[in-house]
């Protein structure tokens, strides 16, 4: 593991915390720092963890009821009048349901609105497919000027939330419901647009994001014992993509795997493939949901069933090595 990143060393029994909790704490910190930060929510205040901000700054909290389309455009209006709005809901509804409002009134306007999509990914679990956002990275990545961040853990989510408040322009933050392993610490560097090399390697590279970074690290550590040296790069910012780091590792290893809790089309895998196809084509394998809707089940069951577990990642690395 990269010693310069102050990562948590003991990853076998990690501390578990949800990225949505990092968002909630980040909101309060951003709110303390800047009085223009306002938070909007559509009847999901507790589960998006906007509650702490509401309690601390009730006069800067706006409740819209079950109305995500209205929320997106109200936020656009507030930003055009000087505020820094964070809109909180589930990713299936925001940026799902309100996609056109985000496209025109936020992105095309270059409105300074931050969109937090919680309960993203299949690990939402028993609620089922209607609530499991698997296309949100794609939706947001296609919008000109939209910054897209997928934090890998609670700590990174907190930093990403604070960083989103600092930069000017629309940002999408993708958050998960479940508690997932903590890998980064307070001291781990975080800069929007800069990928971090969690583990170095020579034979293959795994580009990953979100809570599956943990599975990617585990897979890479396992593979060491089979004399396969795989690098693991945490691509927390899908847009703007850190082309320099991606290129460097594609050149070095000439075999890449992408890992994300998203459709394999349009998300991180798509972004990496588009980039490398033009800059430096190498064999690629994609880990993610393969053109299917999810279903009800336990998060761990679903991650395995839909091919995003550690074993599936190891297999993908071997497949890509065979294609070198």
């Amino acid at each position: 593991m990269n010693p310069n990143l102050y990562l948590i060393k003991y990853l076998l029994k990690p501390e578990m915390k949800a990225t949505r909790d990092g968002y909630g704490e980040g909101l309060v910190l951003a709110g303390e720092k800047n009085k223009d930060v306002v938070v909007l929510c559509a009847d999901l205040t507790e589960s998006t963890r906007s509650l702490a901000f509401q309690k601390k700054f009730p006069e800067r909290f706006v409740e819209l009821g079950v109305a995500e389309q209205n929320m997106a455009s109200v936020a656009a209006g507030m930003s055009l009048a000087g505020k820094i709005p964070f809109v909180s809901s589930y990713a299936t509804f925001s940026p799902g349901r309100n996609n056109e409002q985000i496209r025109t009134t936020i992105a095309y306007n270059e409105a300074n609105v931050k969109i937090a999509g919680a309960h993203a990914g299949i690990s939402v679990g028993p609620d089922g497919a209607t609530h499991q956002a698997l296309e949100d990275i794609g939706l947001m990545r296609m919008l000109p000027g939209m910054t897209v961040i997928v934090p890998c853990d609670y700590e990174e989510a907190k930093k990403a939330t604070m960083a989103a408040a600092e930069i000017i322009g629309p940002v999408y933050l993708r958050l998960g419901r479940e508690k997932t392993p903590l890998m980064t610490t307070f001291d781990t560097p975080f800069k929007i647009g800069r990928a971090e090399v969690f583990k170095d390697g020579r034979d293959a590279v795994i580009f990953c994001c979100g809570s599956l970074v943990y599975n990617a690290v585990k897979a890479a550590l396992d593979l060491e014992s089979e004399r396969i040296s795989a690098a693991v790069i945490n691509i927390h910012t899908i847009k703007p993509l850190d082309g320099e780091t991606i290129l460097k590792y594609a050149r070095r290893t000439k075999a890449a795997v992408t890992v994300e809790e998203h459709q394999i089309y349009g998300g991180l895998g798509g972004a990496v493939a588009e980039f490398l196809a033009k800059e430096f084509p190498v064999p690629l394998e994609f880990i993610g949901v393969n053109d299917k809707f999810g279903e009800s089940g336990r998060p761990d069951e679903l991650i395995e069933k839909y091919g995003m577990g550690v074993a599936a990642i190891k297999k993908a690395v071997k497949r890509v090595l065979a294609r070198k």
């Binding site: 929510c41 009847d43 999901l44 205040t45 507790e46 589960s47 409740e63 819209l64 009821g65 079950v66 109305a67 389309q69 209205n70 299936t92 509804f93 799902g96 349901r97 679990g125 028993p126 609620d127 089922g128 497919a129 209607t130 609530h131 279903e295 009800s296 089940g297 336990r298 069951e301 679903l302 069933k305």
Partner: protein
Amino acid sequence: MEELHETKLKQLELKANQIRQDIIAMLVEAGSGHSAGPLGMADIFVALYFHVLKHDPRHPEWPGRDRLVLSNGHICPVRYAAMAHAGYFPISELKTLRKLGTRLQGHPHRLALPGMETTSGPLGSGLSQAAGMALALKMDGAPNRVYCAMSDGEHDAGQTWEAVMFAAKYKLNNLTGIIDRNNIQIDGYTEDIMPLDDLKDKYESFNWHVIEINGHNIREFVDACATAQTIFEKPAVIIAHTIPGKGVDFMESKFEWHGKPPNKEEAAAALRELRTLQGQIEAGHID
């Protein structure tokens, strides 16, 4: 619609009680899911499946059936329980709610379960679909009715009102809306979160026929459904005033019970209470 005799009414009340017990058992087994809404709508779903709807559980695709759209998909445990008792699938299957491989998805999926007319969960899109079905049936001169169960919370969503205007424009008198007016949503009481004020006035000004009832009075609901069928040139909506969590004292009217299941002890207490009520209905102490 067939007349509702006293003996049948009592059967339906017992059935609603049974379904409430099933809902508790399903939720505690699943370990997640929604308690308040399903319990509050048990009387209405029993009335629908055992008296109002034209349907055939052995032939869920029967073309002559009435269509029931559940817009507020999160209350699906009540529909699953009513469907199981009506004979759509074995009652034992209720225990699979929300588990891997189940037909009883956490939010209903049309393709998973025969008889589930459409997929829902994301709020506010049911009435549009119900209106689409009603319009298509009208185009074909078909006699089927379309029922659309909705929540009050989803009246925050613009799409609901788009559908309200649409149904009035096309005079969809084969469409009956049913609103679970329980005054709660996730973040609190509806009038604090997004005031809906008087839904009756709103619907009337949008050219709908409105009937307000006590949603726990099966006879009132059945009568309202019969009246709705007699309205010319207008869609009808039944605003059912209900108590969320109905039948379980510690859940009643508490928005905190919107989206959580009872734990084992709470479930045991709830079932004790519901069985006591069952005894009272059997003994004729509750009308």
